[in-house]
């Protein structure tokens, strides 16, 4: 069987993983721009300046979504979510607003 890539599964898995990583504060890695340090895993370093988690969030979401998009056959999923993939992205965006609500209080 020829391996395929499912764009709908990629979008859903990316959004789901992104929000999970964001909510759990568990990026794949953190980057500390002050000295150019990388730190893998959940633990935050102290005394090395502010951390950037966004790169690690994108990497984690991209890897999980790519794997699932290749491994899960699209046919069944496409029937379920056809024309509704955008709803997952909307939900992810609303979840971001919710998770950041303290900054606007």
């Amino acid at each position: 069987m020829k391996p395929g890539f499912s764009p709908s599964i990629f979008a859903i898995a990316f959004c789901g993983t992104y929000i999970a990583v964001f909510a759990l504060n568990s990026p794949l890695f953190r980057y500390y721009p002050l000295h150019g340090d990388f730190n893998w895993g959940r633990q935050e370093l102290t005394g090395v300046g502010p951390a950037i988690t966004w790169y690690g969030m994108l990497a984690a979401s991209g890897i999980v979504a790519s794997l699932l998009a290749v491994c899960i056959p699209e046919r069944g999923v496409d029937k379920l979510v056809r024309n509704n993939v955008w709803l997952f992205a909307c939900a992810a965006m609303l979840a971001c607003v919710f998770l950041l609500r303290n900054l606007f209080a």
Partner: protein
């Protein structure tokens, strides 16, 4: 170097904004444009031909944003926090997260604009294009607001 990258980031943002808005307006306009009026000519483009350009511009734009990000984190965000501008930090956080979620939509966007998907994924095509347009406009406006408060030196 950061200033140059920021200027290129802004220029690519303008190009992406223009292309996506053009495609969206053309997509939403129901009747075929035949007149010579500005609006007719604006809508009289083949929306599918914009897809590859938009995909490339979006990826380039996110990459440029990622390159500028460390300078923002140190030179802009820390002063925002010291000035108690939590809402400005929040706006930027939304900008980066929306941009990331936009990346998730790109393969589906490309698929939905394929000619053989026109009949089966019409609603997806409209919704995802509108969503990407919203993300790009949001990111563009927020970027300008934050740069007006405190730009990268």
């Amino acid at each position: 170097m950061v200033t140059l990258l920021l200027i290129i980031h802004g220029l690519v943002g303008v190009a992406l904004l223009g292309a996506l808005t053009h495609q969206t307006v053309s997509m939403l306009r129901q009747r075929a444009a035949r007149g010579t009026a500005f609006v007719d000519r604006y809508c009289g483009v083949s929306a599918p031909t914009f897809t590859i350009a938009i995909l490339m511009l979006y990826v380039v734009q996110v990459t440029l944003g990622a390159l500028v990000y460390p300078s923002y984190r140190i030179d802009v965000r820390i002063p925002f926090e010291e000035m108690s501008l939590g809402w400005a930090v929040g706006l930027f956080e939304l900008k980066e997260h929306f941009a990331g979620i936009g990346l998730a939509l790109l393969p589906m966007y490309a698929f939905a604009w394929r000619p053989d998907s026109a009949a089966t994924h019409r609603r997806e095509r409209i919704a995802i294009t509108l969503l990407l347009t919203f993300i790009v406009w949001w990111d563009f406006i927020v970027g300008h607001i934050l740069n007006n408060i405190r730009g990268l030196a």
